[in-house]
């Protein structure tokens, strides 16, 4: 018991919003100042972000330096809408880190991202020592207007970027999966895909499963493996304690659907 009290790896901290940059109509990039001790995380671990008066939602830390922490918010409901428009000086709460780290070997990485998966990709890009000649991110959205300056942010973090959307103004006209017609995933040491389940499932036949990581996105309630809300469909895995990242083959063989 003494050890547990000394080495608890999950904690709650208050945080002050010190920066909020709107990147597009649906994405905001927030800089937070941690006001209490908060354990370090590794990708693709996540945190629960509590907005007073609203709910707590699972989010990925895009990056951290000392007591400064950055999160990318994609608007998906009332809580994320409030968070995306939150004023500097506001206080929020965080708890985590939750889930397990999953770091692929190698130094050339392909990221396939959609929706709120961008934040997870940013975390990997900064943690894996990416540079634009070694890492490529394919960022997909339905509409061109959603993309805004997210690609510039991804490049700033250290990855080259290709955009895909159902608009001729994107680099690729189509989805993230369509973008793979001109990219050989086999050239990379690992493929990391983060996005909605439909997107991930459509990648199964297009990427080498043994060296691909799927980072799942799900409804999370307790975040600590007790309530059972985040059961991965078709498997006995729980996203919050077994994931959120899984090797694609492991998921497919476990019966994920």
């Amino acid at each position: 018991m003494r050890n547990i009290l000394r080495h608890n790896s999950t904690a709650y901290s208050s945080a002050m919003v010190v920066g909020n940059k709107r990147l597009s109509p649906v994405y905001s990039f927030l800089e937070l100042e941690l006001l209490q001790d908060f354990p370090l995380h590794k990708p693709p671990q996540f945190i629960m972000v509590w907005v007073p008066g609203y709910e707590a939602v699972p989010m990925t830390i895009a990056g951290r330096r000392g007591d400064r922490l950055w999160i990318l918010v994609k608007i998906a409901g009332d809580t994320t809408r409030r968070l995306a428009g939150i004023e500097e000086g506001s206080f929020i709460g965080l708890y985590g880190p939750l889930g397990k780290p999953l770091i692929p070997p190698g130094n050339r990485f392909l990221f396939l991202v959609g929706g709120s998966g961008v934040a997870t990709a940013l975390n990997y890009i900064s943690s894996l020592g990416c540079s634009q000649d070694k890492c490529l991110t394919v960022f997909g959205c339905w509409k061109y207007s959603e993309i805004g300056s997210v690609p510039e942010l991804i490049e700033e973090f250290g990855s080259a970027t290709i955009t895909a959307c159902l608009d001729r103004r994107c680099n690729v006209y189509g989805t993230v999966v369509d973008a793979l017609n001109n990219i050989d995933p086999g050239e990379y040491d690992a493929v990391i895909a983060c996005g909605p389940p439909g997107m991930l499932k459509s990648l199964i036949d297009k990427i080498p499963l043994d060296k691909s990581i799927f980072v799942l996105d799900s409804y999370v309630k307790c975040g600590i493996g007790l309530c059972g809300s985040c059961l991965v469909p078709g498997t006995r895995y729980y996203l919050c304690i077994d994931g959120p990242g899984f090797y694609a083959r492991e998921l497919v063989e476990a019966g994920w659907h």
Partner: protein
């Protein structure tokens, strides 16, 4: 035979460690996951008459001393009991069905459903501290505790476990539950608690207050079990802050025959049961005891 077998209300257990209600066992997958983790019996989530969504997030807050939660008795409703029991039995483990009614009649209805499904025992949730209408609210007085237990025990051909929380009246409440026909007591539930964010100046849990569990309440659990065991020598299943072999042994020495764990899964992961069992085996060897039953209640003698 490794000396870890215990018999609790006639149910043979290969070792004394099971999960506490509230952990995963609201789906067949959750039941299977707990059995994979090594529990000797599965205790289901508290099942209510209708399904319950539970509270909005945040429903848990990790604290340096344990865990605060207000889940709000989220569960699929009593109609899901069949699949839970069937999964546990197909994997060779007894299933204790936890039920939560709002009044003695509802407890009776839930008990009938659980018994029809083949429950090995019923655990009456008389102590959830944070769901208005249920738990402590449904067992407000000694008279109500007696009524709920008596009604349920009168129709049950299986053991009835009454789960009580700490209160100044615990010894009296325990006596009432036993007198009304409880085969065993589960002691204790979480303790009411609250955490306020000092910058937002608001309670963090969406429900405002919740139940505190984990290391913070372990001494209270030891004390509660000790006092009740000393008074009545009943069968007790201990719950409250067991996170390793040492804290589990303390509950046994105070009078528990078996131990339920929950927060330990969060603090140490799902290998914790194997760790606790290995620790207990080492302890028995170190203290030259052949059987874990030699420990039960030994601190009260």
């Amino acid at each position: 035979m490794d000396g870890l077998e215990v018999v609790v209300t006639g149910i043979k257990l290969s070792h004394p460690i099971m999960n506490a209600s509230g952990v995963l066992a609201s789906t067949p997958e959750g039941v299977a996951r707990l059995i994979d983790a090594g529990v000797s019996a599965v205790v289901t989530k508290t099942l209510t008459k209708e399904p319950r969504e539970g509270y909005k997030t945040p429903i848990t807050i990790p604290l340096p001393i344990g865990l605060l939660n207000a889940v709000g008795l989220a569960n699929p409703g009593i109609e899901a009991v069949g699949k839970l029991v069937e999964t546990g039995h197909s994997l060779g483990k007894p299933v204790i069905v936890s039920i939560g009614g709002r009044d003695p009649e509802e407890f009776l209805y839930l008990a009938e459903k659980a018994l029809e499904a083949g429950a090995d025992a019923l655990e009456l949730n008389l102590s959830c501290p944070h769901t208005p209408g249920y738990g402590v609210d449904a067992a407000k007085t000694i008279k109500t505790i007696k009524e709920v237990v008596k009604n349920t025990a009168s129709i049950s051909n299986k053991p009835v476990w009454a789960k009580l929380g700490y209160s100044r009246l615990l010894v009296k409440e325990a006596g009432a539950a036993l007198e009304a026909g409880a085969s065993a007591l589960v002691l204790i539930n979480t303790i009411p608690g609250m955490k306020i964010d000092v910058y937002a100046l608001k309670p963090i849990l969406s429900h405002g207050y919740g139940g505190l569990s984990g290391p913070a309440i372990h001494p209270i659990a030891v004390y509660s079990i000790y006092m009740v065991y000393r008074e009545y020598k009943p069968e007790i299943i201990g719950a409250g802050g067991a996170v390793d072999w040492e804290t589990a042994i303390e509950l046994l020495a105070a009078g528990a025959k078996a131990v339920q764990i929950a927060t330990a899964f969060h603090l140490k992961g799902y290998n914790i049961i194997k760790e606790i069992i290995n620790g207990i085996k080492q302890y028995l060897k170190q203290t030259k005891r052949k059987n874990i039953t030699e420990i039960i209640g030994s601190a009260t003698k």
